[in-house]
């Protein structure tokens, strides 16, 4: 069983709504409204171990998953949810060794998922036009220990993409339709294009741009996630629900002269 070491991140779990991503250091205390915990006590213990606070409340130290890191990125810039990222990742088909272009980086939530998927021998090229987001993203990717698989680039992909022959391009930005031609140029034959957009007007413009280029397998979907309360005589979908985050449009580049979006 893997043990926790000095300098490792753990997810301190109290309950569904109260989790904390913290770095374990000898002598370091972490304060919560349920008392403080001695993080150094975790050193040498296995993941999953309990940690009791000064107020006798029990936390558990989980090994952070990619999804935990996604949730802990800065939510101000974050519009991608787990439901969308899981689907995006499967559609992108990204795995070890792949090279992927992302724009914009935002807080780095999707960057982390992509980097984890392409390791140990692939690369994520992530563009962001807003320098302040880049700092946030850099911190998040660094903390996840994935920086060696990521190149954070400040730049505007509506004017072009530097990379060539990439396996996938994924867009989460305001004007994805302005990047469709650059994405086509950057993709390898059969490479996957994916765009995430909140509004239907963005989707319409993006699909229109796709249909003007040699792409096939064009599809737009929306995912709705319902959380279910499961407890005796109380089982039901929850009352509060995220109504909409965005639409996901996918396509695959083919080689040839004419457009034939199908």
């Amino acid at each position: 069983m893997e043990t926790i070491g000095e300098g490792d991140d753990v997810l301190l779990y109290l309950d569904k709504k109260r989790t904390y991503l913290v770095r374990v250091e000898a002598g370091k205390q972490f304060h919560t409204h349920k008392g403080y915990v001695e993080l150094g006590d975790l050193i040498g213990k296995p993941y999953g171990s309990p940690l009791v606070s000064s107020l006798a409340v029990r936390f558990h130290a989980l090994k952070p998953l990619v999804r935990d890191r996604i949730l802990k990125t800065d939510r101000r810039t974050q519009i991608l949810y787990e439901k969308d990222i899981g689907y995006l990742m499967l559609q992108l088909g990204v795995g070890s060794g792949n090279r992927v272009v992302e724009a914009g980086t935002g807080s780095g939530a999707l960057t982390i998922a992509l980097a984890d998927a392409v390791r140990p021998d692939g690369m994520v090229y992530s563009y962001e036009i807003n320098p302040s987001f880049q700092n946030v993203a850099s911190g998040n990717v660094e903390r996840a220990g994935l920086m060696q698989y990521v190149e954070l680039k400040e730049g505007d992909v509506t004017t072009g993409i530097d990379e060539e022959d990439v396996d996938a391009v994924v867009l989460d930005m305001a004007t994805p339709w302005k990047v469709v031609d650059h994405a086509h140029a950057a993709l390898t034959g059969g490479g996957v294009f994916v765009s995430f957009s909140p509004t239907i007007e963005q989707v319409m413009k993006t699909v229109s741009a796709i249909k003007g280029l040699p792409f096939v397998d064009v599809e737009t979907v929306e995912l709705i996630l319902r959380k279910i309360t499961v407890a005796e005589n109380k089982t039901r979908p929850q009352t509060q629900m995220l109504g909409h985050s965005g639409y996901i449009t996918t396509a695959r580049k083919v080689l040839g002269l004419t457009n034939l979006a199908l």
Copy 2:
């Protein structure tokens, strides 16, 4: 740009509903209702290349993605859809180097996704009680070139799981509640349990079993996928829709003596 070689699989794409996963061999013809194509003509060409049939219909040769292989597994045994697999994968948090237990194997759709995620140095232990399914799965995993990351096991996980200290256990079987204790025993501290079930009674029993053991972060969700038609003056969610596939229940093992499902 990567080129297609003798013995490679390609996805021949005609349109959204007509795609064919075929092995490229010199001299081999593949017949469709749109005429036949000479698969050998693809050798040496880049992925994404067009291939014109004897009836002058153009196909494109795409590099098969994991999601293509999932779609091409035997649908008789298949109840997991892309929407569910994408979410399952992110919840499981499986990446390169992880060890995962799966039951049942079914046609191997999820096995392929798991194997692709754990490569190049992880392992999937996949249990199946029905030998006839195992043959189907074996063919699908072999064809995907992922057999070195998979151990297909004939066995009944309701009586126990052989592995220890695994990072994740994922169940897609009729009686998941009978496996919750074995899954807990097999998991490493902080390891992830995920179960997929079509009916709410299965979910109720499984969650009840989870709540009797040291698990935290218990959640049940359902994913609804809407396909959107995007075309000028015709933009709308599609009329036909998959109403339900199943519920996804997740939990994480913690260490300690008492139950404290939160």
Copy 3:
């Protein structure tokens, strides 16, 4: 308990998918693949009574509800479903004594619901541009015994609406945005406008037209209906589902010179 008389309609119910709306006449046989029944046998019996066929299969004779008549209208012209009609009716706020304009009539499904709601002293003015639909609708309304509350009009509402001071206008037609100004003119102060449209482009144009006129309380919604299988150890939403029928846009006319859509 009300009894069935000569000339009454009954809904012969075999199972969920096999129901027949028939007129009871002495000596008349009704043939089904489960044998024939003698409709005259129902005369003098209460609604809900069983009727056994020549092949010893039991049917039941239900009193037709508005929703039964909606289901039995010609489905070729029918895009309104029960989920939509129920919501439309509540939004329209139509009750006894109200005067309502409808366009287009289609097969008369909504016409029947409206006529049933305004009786015994209201009126439905229903416009249809296609004479062949009008015949279908006329038959359906007549059969429901509601013709005295309906005026079927052949005409194009994009050129104007004859009525004034009506309580509500409801549109189920291809170009509702061309009727918004005529609807505003026809409505009484505070009167309700409702439009049903399958595509988002229709909605965009219609809402844009509404925002240019003195309307308040503008809202667009979509209703999704899930059918649930409820049976021991089989309880779950059904696999097949209607993905989309249309969007419902509502607004209320106010008096004054300027636009102020809120």
Copy 4:
């Protein structure tokens, strides 16, 4: 055009989220955070007229619809939403002249919808076990001017229903399964049973009770309402959404000795 009179209710509309159901009286002021309005100024004016506040903010005086009165009932006791009430009403098939049993009354939201549907010559018998709710309901029904069509009864329907030969029974209460047999006894042949329940356990028990009695046309559904923002380059389903209110189960009574739920 109908004009507003002394003692009439109007819905003062400011915007979607700020509406006020008030009674018009000469000399009466109504105070809001946008200044006060002189309600007496509305006397003699048509519905839909503007009313300007002391702070120069314009309200509009709408004629209250049934749906407005539903929204303005006491929300503490209210779990029925417009989406559910519209569907319930169509399923119940209630119209002028019908006799309907309801339990429980709650705040009277559904009572008002039922009473409006059965007028001018039908009757709603509404049971409530909690006397404090009855006072709330009484005020709401009275204010809607519908009391002559409603008999509010304090009582426990799990012990029996007084009425016979009613056209419909509708339940919105914690233990509907305990009322199924009484509902069957109270219904006329072919009469409609409808139950609304938040949890799936309630639905399971209720459907099980239905299947033990002569009912046909048994169905359980759930309605999901999505509100759509429609504005240039902002068109999308709204972020916040009601995830679940309840399931609706319907059935129709037939005559005969045996159970045959189909």
